[in-house]
């Protein structure tokens, strides 16, 4: 057993070039990471500079923007008659979102409980892909579903009380959209709960229901809350469904049978619209985008922070 030639020669590669290329690679990878920061800066810069065109206008006041209850940027060609109060758009957004949450939170949570606590491996292997397929359905398809199926059915069952475009059908479609997200994030949170807790509960004579609802869910609560928040911000930012199904009239009401233009719906409508570029009305879309961005950003931020806290607690 003689020493192999390659070890006798001991001709090793010089490490100098390696060190240099390593540096270059690290720098280029760091640049990749910087890109994400640049994107955030880009978004904020764009929103600020473009919405300045709106907020600088004499027709607009900050307090009016935040408190007025009429939004007629698309309806009023004449700036003097235009009303810029974000409240109706917010109300539309929250109406749709609320309906979506009423659908997706309980359904998503209970499905998650089922998946993590009860379902056999075989059922899981069917149910999980199904949920993933729903998660992968393009939102424009769900929008189509909303105007083609949900809205007519609602009108049929309510004897015409719902208008063609209404907050409910959009909300239901958005709810379907959020369901897989709520479900998979909550399930992750519940699976992270250590087995020992469940064993402890069963050991005390708890039924499966009591174990899951009184032990597992509270233990995973922060994760579940963060799932809710993330789904909430997803619902707020959802665009195509509301553009197709929620209607184009900003309304300040609680009636879910009525049209409800949302912030995203307004942005799409304004982009598609014939309103002239450069007008205050046009720039108002950036003011709406700022509001939208701020709300979703805060939601996600809080959701992320809660999620991180929770993750650390079991590691």
């Amino acid at each position: 057993m003689t020493l192999p030639k390659s070890l006798q020669n001991r001709e090793f590669r010089s490490t100098r070039w390696g060190v240099l290329s390593e540096r270059l690679i690290v720098i280029s990878l760091a640049l990749c990471a910087t890109a994400t920061v640049l994107i955030t800066i880009g978004i904020i810069y764009m929103l600020i500079t473009q919405s300045a065109g709106f907020f600088r206008s004499d027709a607009v006041t900050m307090s009016g923007f935040l408190t007025d209850t009429e939004w007629t940027a698309l309806q009023s060609k004449d700036l003097a008659q235009a009303k810029f109060g974000i409240m109706p758009l917010l109300s539309g957004t929250f109406r749709v979102t609320l309906i979506a949450m009423i659908i997706s939170l309980p359904l998503g949570l209970i499905t998650a409980i089922y998946l993590s606590e009860f379902a056999s491996a075989k059922i899981r292997s069917w149910l999980k892909p199904t949920l993933e397929i729903i998660a992968g359905v393009p939102t424009v398809v769900l929008g189509y579903f909303a105007i083609l199926v949900i809205s007519p059915s609602l009108q049929l069952f309510s004897d015409g009380a719902f208008s063609t475009f209404n907050a409910t059908s959009a909300g239901i479609a958005v709810g379907i959209l959020c369901l897989p997200m709520v479900c998979s994030l909550s399930e992750d949170a519940m699976r992270a709960v250590p087995r020992s807790l469940r064993e402890g509960a069963y050991g005390l004579g708890c039924t499966p229901f009591e174990t899951s609802v009184k032990v597992v869910v509270p233990a995973a609560l922060s994760g579940i809350i963060s799932a809710f928040l993330l789904a909430f911000s997803r619902a707020i930012g959802e665009t195509m469904v509301v553009a197709l199904a929620a209607g184009t009239l900003p309304t300040m009401t609680l009636d879910p049978t009525q049209q409800a233009q949302t912030m995203t719906g307004f942005i799409v409508e304004m982009i598609k619209s014939e309103s002239e570029y450069g007008t205050v009305q046009y720039y108002s879309l950036y003011a709406v985008a700022v509001t939208l961005f701020t709300i979703t950003f805060l939601m996600t931020l809080v959701g992320q922070i809660i999620r991180r806290r929770f993750k650390e607690s079991y590691q």
């Binding site: 764009m46 089922y114 950003f297 992320q304």
Partner: protein, 409 residues
Amino acid sequence: MSSMPDAIVKQDAKYLADNARRRKRFSLWFYFLCVAIALISVVILIFLMASIWSQGHSRLSSDLLTRSHSELEIERSGMWPSILGSLFVCGTCAVVALPLGVGTAVFLEEFQPTNKLLRWIHGFVQLNISNLAGVPSIVYGLLGLTVFVYMFNVFGQIRVNESAGMEIMGYKHFYQVLTLEPGHVVFVPQSDPTKRQTTFDEPFQAVDPDGNSIEISIWTPGTPKPSDPAIRRQTVRAGAIGGTITERSWYYFRLPFDKSFLSAGLTLALVILPIIIISSQESLRGVPSSLREASMGLGATTWQTVRDVCLPAALPGIMTGAILAMGRAIGEAAPILVVMGAAVAKSTGPKHLMDDAVTMPVLIFNWAGRQQDEFKELSAAAIIVLLVVLLLLNSTAIYIRHHVQKAQS
């Protein structure tokens, strides 16, 4: 020693039994509720598919896959250009987002910072990425509009007859002149780039379709008009005006990008970048650190470790994430509406980098809103095509994950 508390000593056996039975029953009900609700999602999916299938299956024909949108022959409209368009847009998106996303994930996961400031920056970048994942896609659309389509107007505005922005490569300017032969034009290389049009009174040199130089003669009205088509093709009327046209190679490149598939692809890349980063990070995190130590212990540098050990081990996970992200990109409509507009009457796929395109979701959006029943059905049929594509993508992802889980266990 204290005696046992009363609560334990004075147990009512009947109550206990009832209580246990009640709780068990309740638990059973809850189980059924769970099953029922979990089934709801399956029912929704089946209902969705069924309603779309019943609307659209009659329109699934070769016309749908091979022809383009038509206002005049609605019943024979198709989605071929939109399939090409989606391919190009998502291709661009993948080419940009994948390396960028995986690179960022590698940087964040494998090159852990050593000092406090860097660690803070690291955490900030991390949080920032999670937040970017929550930004509505329409906001990315607006960003794409400002950054890619107009580029803050830094490179000038694109104006017909005047300015094509800052052209960089892949273009040749010609004057296009109508000849005496109807429908036929000859091309004269543009010598002076500032001159947008020119008048021809003297015989001149032009290029034929093969790029060969040909002599073009002038016909003055009043003199006998040549009748041989071959001669007429090489003859123009005195005073004929040549307007500029640009021959664009496929790699035609200019700034700003304007409403091109490139802009749309880059915008979509922004949308899916956070998703790719997060999923790649998760799969890198799944690589056991013992492998890293082993590689480092053998004298590999961090990058060599990443290249030879971590990336290959994390590849299935990264690919799954990337495929799911691409599924999102293919189905995304809002940012594309903002960046490229809602026009769908394009009969081909993009011909050069700066060409616009129609994508499947935008076509569906357009068709779904139309009045004619044909369009409504076509849109359902287009949805079926899109869903089949997505289903293929998703099942690939699920297959990869399943396969790897098995191999690793």
